[in-house]
């Protein structure tokens, strides 16, 4: 059952447009005939594998299969372009397994403590967390920070299209009723990443093949495993970050992978190498996004609050089977919940053989498939993926429009990463901002609500550090180099 769930989740995650939430939601009806533990085991395996599967398309075609794999494109795709696609996929596999295991360990032993911390996050903290997320752009677009922030601001503006979360104003819909629901993140993701990549391939059709096939490297499995395991600091830090971000309701893997990537760049002795195709980038993103699986379950099982969107679906599954999420799960239904947690642990481990087999196979297929087949298939999957979100052709048109905009922006040096980051953080930031202002009306000055909580100050300091880090890092590197030269 777990193996079937893992294969299903891998395929869904690898296809751009099909997310973990969708995969879990679509397969819920199949669990009606199973007992609660079996149903949760299958869905947990699908969730875990879906998050990991997004790395395949991120590495091989520069199009993240899920929002959790946006950061994997930064180093995964350059590695594939250098003929190291298999090594990149194996790195992602080992890092995902590691992150998944750490997330489950936190779920098993530290649930009450982390849930208590999550409860202390209020609207001001969510606002500053969104600001911290935006400051990551300064690291992601080190070649032109200004363009990165412009992309981020564009993403924030696009996220405000639709009905305002507080107040209910219909904003920027141009009279189109279908836009009242806003721009779906997945639609934008497919548009900004997949369409420009497909057009790039079409423009390079003379190359015939998209990626260079690397020479067979005997023992690549063992050497990649050893290389990944040597990076214990990166693995552990990214896994812990992913778990913590997963614990915060509403945050999720789409933020975790970018936060972990940012931290990996910040602490690295060679930050300039990130983005050129190094395993450290993949390790950071994949360890963190799989740790979110365990982390997101913590508020779900302890407080009955879903940590990430797929957890909201699992919340429904628990209710369907008569299990009320919350503290009583561990007392009244301890057999079911501990079985589920252990199954997540086993799923993380079994992801290793399943991922190695599938990943290598997919790498071989993509490398050997000529562009004249690969590019049309990617376009086909983008249309299917964007339509199946809301069964609405408007999403397909929006996806194509954003794809053209993304292609043009890319040609002018704007990376799609900051734009999608703005899209992800916009709703979180706006909700936190407006709710905080409403809360602040009890204070003499309502704006003080953003500055009178200790947790907020921690996030403010982290944001300032993240924003100014590229400047410090540049000076540190220059100082270090001149020190070495003089000695």
């Amino acid at each position: 059952m777990i193996i079937a769930g893992l294969f299903g989740g891998l395929i869904t995650g690898a296809l751009p447009g099909l997310t973990a939430t969708m995969a879990v939601a679509l397969l819920v009806p199949f669990t009606f005939t199973m007992n609660p533990a079996e149903g949760l085991i299958v869905l947990g395996a699908i969730y875990m594998a879906c998050i990991y599967g997004g790395s395949f398309s991120a590495i091989l075609v520069n199009a993240p299969g899920t929002p959790s794999s946006i950061g994997t494109t930064f180093d995964g795709y350059p590695m594939a372009q250098k003929g190291e696609g298999e090594r990149a996929i194996l790195t992602a596999t080992f890092a995902s397994v590691y992150g998944g295991i750490i997330g489950v360990i936190f779920l098993l032993f530290l649930s009450p403590l982390l849930a208590h911390i999550a409860l202390r996050f209020g609207p001001p903290e969510y606002f500053w967390m969104a600001v911290f997320g935006i400051t990551i752009i300064s690291t992601l677009s080190s070649d032109n920070v200004l363009k990165g922030f412009i992309g981020g601001a564009l993403g924030l503006l696009i996220s405000t299209i639709g009905i305002a979360p507080i107040g209910g104003d219909v904003r920027f819909t141009a009279g189109i009723p279908q836009l009242q629901g806003g721009i779906e993140l997945i639609t934008a993701l497919i548009g900004f990443f997949c369409i420009p990549e497909a057009f790039n391939m079409i423009g390079q059709r003379a190359k015939e093949y998209h990626l260079t096939e690397s020479k067979k490297q005997p023992g690549i499995l063992l050497t990649t495993f050893k290389d990944v395991m040597k990076k214990q600091a990166n693995l552990l830090r990214s896994s812990i970050l992913g778990t913590i971000v997963g614990v915060l309701p509403g945050a999720g893997g789409s933020i975790a992978n970018l936060v972990a990537y940012n931290e990996a760049v910040r602490v690295s002795k060679t930050p300039e190498k990130f983005g050129t195709g190094i395993p450290d980038g993949i390790i950071a993103t994949e360890a963190s996004n799989n740790a979110v699986v365990g982390g997101g379950m913590i508020p779900l099982v302890t407080l009955g609050i879903p940590g990430a969107p797929p957890d909201a679906v699992l919340y429904g599954v628990l209710l369907l089977h008569g299990l009320r999420p919350g503290p009583e799960l561990f007392t009244t239904h301890s057999g079911v919940i501990y079985t589920f947690i252990m199954s997540l642990f086993i799923s993380a481990i079994l992801m290793l053989p399943v991922g190695i087999v599938s990943g290598r196979l997919l790498n071989r297929i993509v490398v050997r498939l000529p562009i004249r087949f690969l590019a049309p298939l990617i376009l086909f999957l983008t249309i299917v993926g964007s339509y199946s979100i809301r069964n609405n052709m408007t999403d397909v048109y929006i996806m194509l429009t954003l794809g053209v905009i993304g292609y043009i922006l890319k040609r002018f040096g704007f990376h799609p990463g900051p734009v999608t980051l703005g899209l992800i953080l916009g709703p979180i930031g706006e909700m936190g901002f407006v709710q905080s202002l409403l809360m602040g009306q009890t204070l003499p000055n309502k704006w003080m609500i953003f500055f009178n909580r200790p947790l907020s100050w921690i996030l403010i300091i982290m944001s300032l550090l993240s924003l100014c880090w590229p400047l410090f890092a540049g000076k540190l590197v220059r100082g270090h180099r001149s020190g070495r030269l003089s000695s």
Binding site: L157, G203, A206, R372, N391, F412, F433, L437
Partner: protein
């Protein structure tokens, strides 16, 4: 004008357009998009100013245009026709035809009958399998028209 200047001016216009539209909203629905529009306006203006002082490199001297733009535009036109015909003709027929046309267009070799037949057969299998998985197994509806 360099690409940076064009994009920065476009972003300034977008910021002004969004900012102007917020006038009709209530305070809670206006404040965040207005502040974001102001932020975009400031950043775009800085980029515009920066474009005059930045060293002129080959990359930012002119709008980058590569070869094969005609093929890209042609492919995009086929995609637009494809998407518009999905709900008229149907998912399977439209997708098979469009995928085949795209593939033959991207093939640098002379089109042969055997290659065309192979392409049509391959895409028919792929599209039908995907349609079956979505429609019958996952119960996710795909666009339908007068044919399949």
């Amino acid at each position: 004008m360099t690409g940076d200047r064009i994009v920065s001016l476009a972003c300034v216009l977008i910021a002004i357009a969004f900012g102007a539209q917020t006038r009709g909203f209530h305070y809670n629905g206006r404040i965040f998009p207005l502040l974001t529009a102001v932020l975009l306006l400031v950043l775009s203006s800085l980029l515009f100013i920066q474009s005059f002082f930045k060293k002129h490199t080959e990359q930012n001297r002119k709008i980058p245009v590569r070869g094969d733009m005609g093929v890209i535009i042609g492919a995009f036109a086929i995609v637009i026709v494809w998407v518009n015909l999905l709900t008229v003709i149907g998912f399977i027929v439209t997708s098979v035809v469009s995928l085949t046309v795209l593939t033959l267009m991207l093939d640098l070799r002379r089109i042969s009958f055997n290659r065309a037949v192979f392409t049509i057969a391959m895409y028919t299998v792929v599209v039908v399998v995907l349609w079956y998985v979505f429609h019958s197994i996952l119960l996710v509806p795909l666009p339908s028209g007068c044919l399949l």
